[in-house]
Each structure stands twice: as C-alpha cells, then as structure tokens.
C-alpha cells in the first residue's frame, strides 16, 4: 500500500512538473535553434520507425522503366525540388528556414526502401513540413517520383540537367535556385573577423546539415558531400581552392563559380554570414 502511494505521489509530481513546463512557455520552439542531440535522436528514430512500420504492407510496382523515371524526374522538379533541392540545385530560400531542413533526397534514395518513400510522399509527416500528396497527385505519379528518387543517387548533377532538359519538351527545366542571391550588397570579405559561434548557428540556417557531417551541429551526419571535420586543417576547398578564409567565403557564396555543374548549389549566403561560417569551419581542427 505504501509503495502504491509512493508511486502515485511520484506520478503526480512528474505530471505537475510536465504541466508546469508546458504552461510556463519556456521551451524554445524557434526553428533557428538546433535540437538537443537526445531530442533529435528521439524525433528522428520515431519518424524512421513509424515509416518502416506503416510502409510494410505497401506493394511496390516495377519502377525500373526509364519512361517512369523520366516522368518522375519532371514531377520531382515540379513538386519537390523547391523544398528538397535537386542535384546541383538549391532549395528555395524559405525551405532553408524549415526545421527539420528538408532532406537531400539523393541520400534518402539510398537509405529508404521504395515502399517507405511512397508512404511518406502519400501520407506526409506531421510536424516536419512534409505535406501529404494523396489528394494532390495520382498514385502513378507518386510511384514515378519514387522511381526517380531511387535513381537520383546514380545520376551526376550534369546527367540530371541533361536528362531533365531532354524530357522537358514543354515544361521549363529547373531554375538553378531562384533565391535572392544578394550580389548587390556583396563586398570583399576581409581575411579576419567572422564569429565562429554564429557561424555554427548559420550552418543550420543555410541547410548545410542536409549534405555534410559537421561536428557541433546536431543532426549533421549526412554523407551526401564530404565530412567537414578538420576543415580548418585541409589544404583545399572543393578540391580546387586553397583553403584561406577569403576563399572559403567565396566558395560558400558561389560554389558553382568554382565547380560549375557541381552538386553543391549556390545557396544565396550573404558575405557577412559566409564569413561567420568560414570562421567556424576554420576552427574545426
């Protein structure tokens, strides 16, 4: 009996504490702040397991038909790339402000089963910003997009552009990032300055975590591009630029200038923010 009273008392205290936490409003829901690592793990694992569970009875049709893949590529550009980007194409500016940042699907195409992709596209995902397409796209179209996402990691950015153009006799090809690249306000960054702490914060704001493994940024563990650990020690940036602060700012602002057609898109990072990001990357040793 005593034990029971104790358990009930603890339960009441925990519930009261939880209620106090919720009603106090102290929890920071700002999309600009990263999750703590345990919460990120909890959210991501819950999402992944739920998709696996719910997709287990989805029947997958044949997806290897090139015509289906081509259709999926066009549909992907029409409906998905504004948030997810495409090979060498940045998401639009608003999408970089979403938290979680919409995934780079070249990696998802490797890691997820087609049934899981189908389920996620069709039903969407609460609290992620991923909409449900069930009442917006025909089932065949959803499967075509799945077919393309599965194909995406096996096409270079150049092949993506060429094939999209080839199948787009009427639809216009993807515009490489319509975001407001702030060329007018650009000025030459100085070799010094830059706030590394702010830079770490900004890596999340520009979606760098979607493709790179970055120490200090929760959830940044994606193997789409190279890991950025020890970046401050590396001799080169993107394999083409000597690793100086100035060059890093230039690279972050307009990587397509240095590797035209590369997978890393111009993301419209202003000079000031690029300088802070460069300062953080330089601190990774």
């Amino acid at each position: 009996m005593r034990v029971l009273i104790g358990v009930v008392a603890v339960g009441i205290v925990v519930a009261a504490g939880a209620a106090a936490f919720v009603y106090s409003g102290v929890y920071d829901i700002a999309a600009t702040d990263q999750h703590t690592a345990p919460l990120f793990w909890l959210l991501k694992t819950t999402m992944r397991r739920a998709i696996e569970h719910h997709a287990r009875e989805v029947h997958v049709p044949p997806l290897a038909n090139p015509a289906v893949i081509a259709k999926g590529r066009t549909l992907f550009v029409a409906h998905c790339s504004r948030c997810h980007g495409a090979p060498g194409v940045a998401p639009e500016a608003f999408a970089l402000g979403l938290r979680p940042t919409p995934a780079n699907l070249a990696n998802t195409g490797i890691e997820w089963q087609p049934s899981e992709l189908y389920w996620a596209i069709k039903h969407g995902m609460k609290l992620t910003g991923m909409p449900a397409w069930e009442f917006r796209l025909a089932d065949d179209d959803v499967w075509a997009i799945v077919a393309y996402i599965q194909r995406m990691p096996y096409e270079s950015p150049r092949e993506f552009r060429e094939r999209l153009a080839a199948s787009a006799s009427r639809a216009a090809p993807a515009q490489p990032s319509s975001i407001a690249v702030d060329h007018s306000a650009s000025h030459v960054a100085t070799a010094s300055g830059g706030n590394a702490r702010q830079g770490r914060h900004l890596l999340l704001q520009y979606g760098c975590d979607v493709c790179h493994e970055i120490p200090g940024v929760v959830g940044a563990s994606m193997p789409v591009g190279p890991p950025l650990d020890h970046m401050g020690l590396h001799s080169f940036i993107g394999g083409v630029l000597p690793n100086t602060r100035d060059n890093m700012v230039r690279w972050i602002r307009t990587p397509q200038t240095f590797v035209p057609g590369g997978a890393m898109p111009d993301l419209g990072v202003p000079d000031r923010d690029a300088l802070d990001i460069a300062a953080y990357l330089e601190s990774l040793r």
Partner: protein
C-alpha cells in the same frame, strides 16, 4: 579494424532490427590488396583513411564512410565504375582538381575501390 566494424555492424543490426539501409552495392576486387595500395600510391599523404595506418593526410577530405557517400568530388556519382574512373584520372572528371593523376592501373583501382567501399 575491419573485423571490429563488422562486429559493430552486426550489433547495430541486432539492436536496430533490419533497418540497415540498402547501400551502394559492395564492389568486388581484393579489398586487402586495395588497402595496401592506398599507401603505395601515396593516397595516405593527402587523405585520412580508416584502417590505413599512415593515412593521416589533411590535404583533401577524409575518406571515412566513403562507401556511403553520395557524390565523389562533388561532380560524379559514387558507383564503383565512377570511383575507379576518378582514382585513375581525376583531372578528366573534375578539371583543375588538386587531386593528381597517380597513374593507378585498372586492376589496382579496382582493388582500391573494393577497400574504400567497405568503409561505411
């Protein structure tokens, strides 16, 4: 080192159910020979490569988890064929890259790819 990885992977599979993603296909080729070749061709001078003792270079990116990487050098897809092409003639894949042509033979590139693909 590799054995440790296999043990770790097995444990991860047991703990995490069957959720290990279907990754790039494993490349055939002699991975053990590939590991030795990474040193012979001087790759270790520029790259950090798990399992290759001398590979502590910091000129280029780490090759850790290369078997899971989506793109090579930011321009090519990460298939065994493309990775071998990149290793044999990087300048053809990405003109102006800092990675030099080390005159790696076809067979050697094949084995190096097998080793790098085991890094997950």
């Amino acid at each position: 080192m590799l054995n440790l990885r296999i043990v770790a992977l097995s444990i991860a599979l047991l703990v995490g159910g069957c959720s290990d993603p279907s990754l790039h296909p494993h490349a055939d080729g002699d991975a053990e020979r590939g590991r030795a070749l990474l040193d012979q061709y001087g790759c270790s001078g520029c790259h950090r490569i798990p399992g290759v003792r001398a590979a502590t270079g910091i000129i280029g990116p780490s090759l850790d988890r290369l078997g899971r990487r989506v793109y090579i050098a930011g321009v090519a897809v990460n298939s065994p064929e493309e990775l071998a092409r990149w290793i044999r003639d990087p300048q053809a894949v990405k003109p102006g890259t800092a990675m030099p042509n080390a005159h790696v033979s076809e067979q050697d590139a094949h084995d190096i790819v097998a080793y790098l693909y085991a890094l997950r």
